[in-house]
Subunit: 316 residues, 2 copies
Amino acid sequence: MYRPEIKVLDCTIRDGGLANDSYFKLDTVRAVYRACCEARMDYVELGYRNSRELLSPDEYGPWRFCDEEDLRRAVDGIPNPGTRISIMQDAHKARAEDLLPKAQSVVDMIRVATYVKDIDKAIMLENAAREKGYETTINIMSISVESDWELDPALEQLAKQTRTTACYVVDSFGSLYSEQVDYFVAKYQRLLPGCTVGVHFHNNQQLAFANTIQGIIRGANFVDSTIYGLGRAAGNCPTELLLGFLKNPKFNLRPILDCIAGAILPLQKEIEWGYLVPHMITGMLNQHPRAAMAVLKSPERNNFRAFYERMLELAE
Amino acid sequence: MYRPEIKVLDCTIRDGGLANDSYFKLDTVRAVYRACCEARMDYVELGYRNSRELLSPDEYGPWRFCDEEDLRRAVDGIPNPGTRISIMQDAHKARAEDLLPKAQSVVDMIRVATYVKDIDKAIMLENAAREKGYETTINIMSISVESDWELDPALEQLAKQTRTTACYVVDSFGSLYSEQVDYFVAKYQRLLPGCTVGVHFHNNQQLAFANTIQGIIRGANFVDSTIYGLGRAAGNCPTELLLGFLKNPKFNLRPILDCIAGAILPLQKEIEWGYLVPHMITGMLNQHPRAAMAVLKSPERNNFRAFYERMLELAE
């Protein structure tokens, strides 16, 4: 039996943008948006609303900034029976004044991504977004390298100073095993009473879908996925697998399958994502994916042993 | 802390043989054997010992029969500090008389693969192998489509009529979720007292590694894996991921990494395995992988919606 409280957020364009500096063609964004609407996803995230003062528009495509006119071009004319639109702000790369009042925007929800060290910036952004009329979440990145003595007070601060809908466990490095998922979900439930727990996992160890299931078993009710797992490095929990597991009769898998064939597989010519040995190594050793992404673009991409030795040194 | 009771069996050549009719070059088999010995795997499985009377040698390569002289060519001159050699017999495709006495063979263990309906044949093969001096396991295939009222008496029969070292939960269709792993492992523990539980999972839903971890958490101590997941259809639990999780200091990941680069990646030109949408669909719908393997060789390989509709009809 399905659990109606579970909300699925497809962040194909947002997380996938970390693999191509958010240079998606408009047609691709529209295809993903259309598929998510037709599949009756709860949310679809179309990119970042980061600041041009803090990130150069010469280096990033439009979906890193998500100007209101770009968003309107993405959704224009596509029937939407109830999929809410989300964008993400990075706590250290975004400004509160870059948000229009909700009534003037197609956006429904602002997700604030943050490291624990930036929690005060994240709270400011969350408060500003909520005051402008948006639903909000806070997504704590790189959770696998945060210390309890820093994370716990940050969660307590969020409980006191925000009214965020959900707070996410984000395994940016793809490093967690199921027992660690249990640990973090239980911690959030304890320190953030009344706040929904969200989970966002990466697939470096082929555990993104499995850890999402584990989070759901433990009570997480906001879950992220991307179509065919498109995302940075090893990618994410695949939307198509998640819908099959959830068994909520409102979901329709067919438009997601069509989108994979029509819009996502062609991207494999430009973007490399999925399970590859360097990604496995950084996940296993709890390291940032940037070293693996770099080695995969080098002539040494298949010298796995040398990469492993180098990462072992970093992990010491 | 690691659990020393856990035994890892690498079945790259045996399960991979289901993807290429066991036509591996001798060099590939030697490379996998060498990597498993150097990595200090507990077991390495080099193929099937099926009967030439029941399977045509015109249709299958040498590793479907594993003649003693072929096995000796595979292992000759490669230092082995303690990795035991296994081969598999299919209950419905093998004969007891095809086994030499253990003293005349390089093989240490016979694994008998069976459907529940062939349990009597499996017991005969197991008894014969044990009488000839081999260690044995019994691997119950396609567990996701067996009924309790047939499976339970078969397990009770195994408990009475064999002295097998381990009995495996084999998810041939890649269909199980973690809660079903719990269910089957608990059932085996209850009905096969004193017998080690083994687990063998397929990756149709990207859950082979995760389900292996789940089996381990619930007490399974024989676990199967293949290098880079090589195996039929979506493939298996990757050896490299499993060694990273287990943390037994005796294991050495480096030779496995070298083997991926040197011997496994080149096979991608001849064999297609891994996460592909048709494999996902058969796994999700609890169907045999043969339909997905066929469609992937057809011009319709990316017509996912049509394949999904066809499989839905089969699953009704």
